[in-house]
Amino acid sequence: MEQPLIEFKDVTKRFGPRTVLDRVNLQIFEGQVTTIIGLSGAGKSVLIKHIIGLLRPDEGQILFRGKPLGEMSKAEMDECRAGMSYMFQDNALFDSMSVYDNVALPLRETTNLKKAEIDRRVMARIEQTELLDAIHKYPSEISGGMQKRVALARALVTDPRIVLFDEPTSGQDPIRKNAILGMIAEYQRRFGFTAILVSHEIPDVYFISNRILALYRQKIVFQGTPEELELFEHPFKDEVIQSLEGLQQELSSLYSRRQFKVRYYTQLKRDTSEKSYVIAFFTLEGMSGLVAGLGHDAAQEAVRCMGVLIDKHFGAVGGFSARRGVNEFMTVLPYSDLSEAGEILKNFVQDFSGQGIRDISAQAIRRAASGECVEFTIRAGLAQGRPAAGMDAVVESAKARQQEVARLQCDVSKG
């Protein structure tokens, strides 16, 4: 069995008579995105502050690569913390320093790099986080969203192996929330660091997380994949997930995955007539190009627009849709067969090729940091299923049958 990178063993933390963490046990694995979810005030921030060493447990042990932190020498502890970075919930930016100086601070103070090298690294991060316009401004002169990105740039500038994000999306609008989560996912893929997030952005965090840890009543009550969480039966699910997860997903206005399943079960599973249904699966390909050309916000705007168009078209014929991944959507067409669904999809593709894709492009460019020419492709696939069989196999089948249905090329975006 894989050794956890970080492990909590019966960790208890009290503040006076109040117990915040009660014999918490958890494992965090290397190279994964692990998200700690729970209600506000549940102790999520307290939990990750133990990992970075800002708090120490009253009881129990925290193990780093199998070795208890309490038994480490100062040199070992320093080495362990050298690869860690922490993004604070309230950013904790130095308000007397410019954006550039805030991002450069850890490199200036903890490395012996030359000024030119520091400048190169800082500018790279500032560019990636779309902060070039704010480089000489002070934190008080920029918006909350930009402050978050400065904090993100500062957390990533040292190329850490482990990054802890404490509510990285708090106080952001839906587009920006997803842009930040997308940024974290992209950097995590690109640099391979271990990301530990504290969030209650359900279900948005599911799309980027490998593992979910659920903190409920001072204990970790669930550890597993987002898919396993869907099958998890516990009061936590009723009290926490349902209160955090709206009926519709904030970004795309579509059903959340859980609500999608609820509707699937209530509309199709309970129907004993065994009529077939069709699942249409859509993918927006070229996200990395969109991000590189127009920025994270514009890429998320494109995803949002696509969700809205799918919902509008298929909702009108009785379908219901949900976001499946960062750039994936699925739609259920109840009581349909493949030929009928094929016709509906054909109409959709006609509308989409004519106007929809231009709308997506226009909305994305409006949100963009630059007006660069970008290309992206929409792929779609259909698969038929019956309520008696599992939905996941049908979804996978639709995904496997995807074909290109629309493409935006540079000359179109310019026109």
């Binding site: 503040f15 006076g16 130095f94 601070l105």
Partner: protein, 282 residues
């Protein structure tokens, strides 16, 4: 938050209940205050020792220069203004007192010795406390409550070395220099009021200044300035650094109270230390 709730609950528990508790409560409260005071003294001593040890780390020079500019150079105008009028008032009062005995020739002696031995170091320290000390406490306090100091720790930047050590060293450098400026301008102020305005003899004034001042007077004044520098830097940095642990308030209010405490405590300790150092040096 949890700590705050804890403090409230502790305060509830500490209230006297029953006759016996009511009678013993003043002693318990005094004991607790004394223990708290001893704790603070211990913490402040460790704080100062660590800050002094961490001066000898790389990349400190630029921070020290920055702080010397902020604590020292930026305070020079106010020090000059205060010292000029202090010297003028001293010259004015002394002249009228001395003229009764026909000893107005000793005006230079009185002004110079008063300023160099006592008023220079003490008033300089009090003025820097008011101008720079309060700002140091407020700045560090805000950095503490907005988690900026925690952020330094997570970036592996030693907050004591980054924030406190340069300020302690900069104070030790700035206080004696500003004291010297205070002394010089003060003597000039005495000349303005005593000689230029009241007509005392200029030659006698400067002769007496030169004759009465010994090197020991000047070095004693500088020793006091260094002692006051350590006191002001320690008190102001300590109050700001631990603003979040105040039991009487939280958040912005805690920073405000920490700033007030820093100024009041620094001024009191300057006067107490002045007496002790004078009695040791005399």
């Amino acid at each position: 938050m949890a700590m705050n709730e804890n403090r409230t609950e502790n305060a509830e528990a500490e209230r006297p209940q029953g006759v016996l508790s009511f009678l013993t409560w003043p002693f318990a409260a005094t004991g607790r205050s004394f223990i708290g005071w001893v704790n603070h003294m211990g913490a402040a001593t460790i704080f100062l020792l660590l800050a002094c040890l961490k001066v000898f780390r790389p990349k400190q020079l630029s921070k020290i220069i920055q702080q010397v500019y902020y604590i020292g150079a930026s305070s020079i105008l106010i020090i000059m203004l205060v010292s000029l009028f202090t010297g003028m008032v001293l010259g004015l009062q002394s002249y009228h007192a001395l003229v009764k005995f026909g000893a107005q020739g000793s005006l230079g002696t009185l002004v110079a010795l008063s300023l160099v031995r006592e008023l220079g170091p003490v008033l300089t320290a009090i003025m820097i406390t008011a101008r720079a000390g309060s700002a140091i406490t407020a700045q560090i306090g805000i950095e503490r409550i907005s988690e900026q100091i925690d952020a330094l720790d997570t970036m592996r930047i030693d907050s004591l070395s980054y924030l406190i050590s340069p300020r302690v060293v900069a104070s030790i450098i700035s206080f004696p220099i500003l004291t010297a400026v205070f002394d010089l301008i003060g003597i000039f102020g005495g000349y303005v009021s005593g000689v230029l305005l009241l007509g005392a003899n200029a030659g006698a004034y400067f002769y007496r200044v030169q004759e009465s001042l010994e090197l020991k007077d000047v070095t004693d004044g500088f020793i006091k300035a260094v002692v006051f520098a350590v006191i002001v830097a320690l008190v102001c940095c300590y109050q700001g650094y631990f603003a979040h642990m105040r039991e009487d308030s939280r958040g912005a209010k805690a920073v405000g109270l920490a700033t007030t405490s820093a100024v009041v405590l620094s001024c009191v300790l300057i006067l107490v230390a002045d007496y002790i150092v004078t009695s040791l040096l005399i």
